[in-house]
Symmetry: C2
Subunit: 170 residues, 2 copies
């Protein structure tokens, strides 16, 4: 399925490999949402991805070498894992998030992670990638004593969500 | 034409605004190739973009606030300019190029700029963005004495191209 890119340009090669908008969004949910099953990716999609689109994008991410798919036994759910190439899209996600924060309408609870990642810079992205390598590739974190990047991001998200929610509850 | 994104997520907002693969490629050619006219973008496309696709993507980049289009007099060519939001896609381009270099086949002359941008880091990206602001927004460069980022990138490209070309010429 993987074919040679249309040109030898590194940007074009990346753009072709990462595919369309939905592929990036699915990859984002695997990386930042820790979602590794079809049902989970479908049910929790903030953007309401359609089942057939999710299915086709997962296939193309696997074909492109960004995800692997471990088939489960009959009746059980298969698991998607990031490859090293998939994990290394973290800096692309950060750059996209930083741009979106500045130039598009966003909500506090869904953008707090983009802001933290920008502020944390490359050391925080490396921590996150090390954590993803542990979760998806079984490679132990080189600095297990460091706080988990995912925890930092998740706590900030929950905090913003709770700060925003009361107006809706009341 | 610009509508609210499907969710308040900063990454999603960026992905929706930057659109599909061809939009990013057109933006890349305006940023790194200095191409500001339809004919130039069409004739020099490394990926062989089709005329109707180029036309539609230019329209959507203008609608999305990444480019502006100055109509020319009858029979003359209009000029496209980057907006500040368009200029600030430089770090996204760099992140895409760095990933493409590592994970996809590329050619030396078309990837040398991605390599230099990665090595130069944020100070080089800022220089390039200042230069783009001068060329597209008429904002003088804050440090006119600094060497031009575009010259550094173009020289490296020409050098690689000439280093590669002889085998074809002979």
């Amino acid at each position: 399925m993987r074919h040679d890119p249309r040109s030898g340009c590194a940007i074009n090669a990346a753009v072709e490999a990462l595919g369309d908008q939905w592929s990036l969004i699915v990859l984002r949910d695997v990386i930042f949402g820790g979602r590794r099953h079809f049902r989970d990716l479908l049910a929790n999609s903030e953007e309401g991805i359609a089942s057939n689109i999710l299915s086709s994008r997962l296939k193309s991410l696997v074909a492109g070498g960004l995800l692997t798919h471990e088939e489960a036994e009959r009746g059980r759910r298969g698991t998607y894992s990031l490859t090293e190439a998939g994990i290394q899209t973290v800096p692309i996600m950060v750059a996209l998030g930083s741009w979106g924060l500045r130039h598009r309408p966003t909500t506090p609870e869904l953008s707090v992670r983009a802001r933290l990642l920008e502020e944390g810079g490359p050391p925080l992205w490396e921590d996150l990638m090390d954590e993803l390598r542990e979760a998806h590739l079984n490679i132990p974190r080189p600095n297990p004593g460091r706080p988990r990047a995912s925890r930092l991001l998740q706590d900030a998200y929950e905090e913003r969500k709770n700060a925003v929610a009361p107006t809706e509850v009341v």
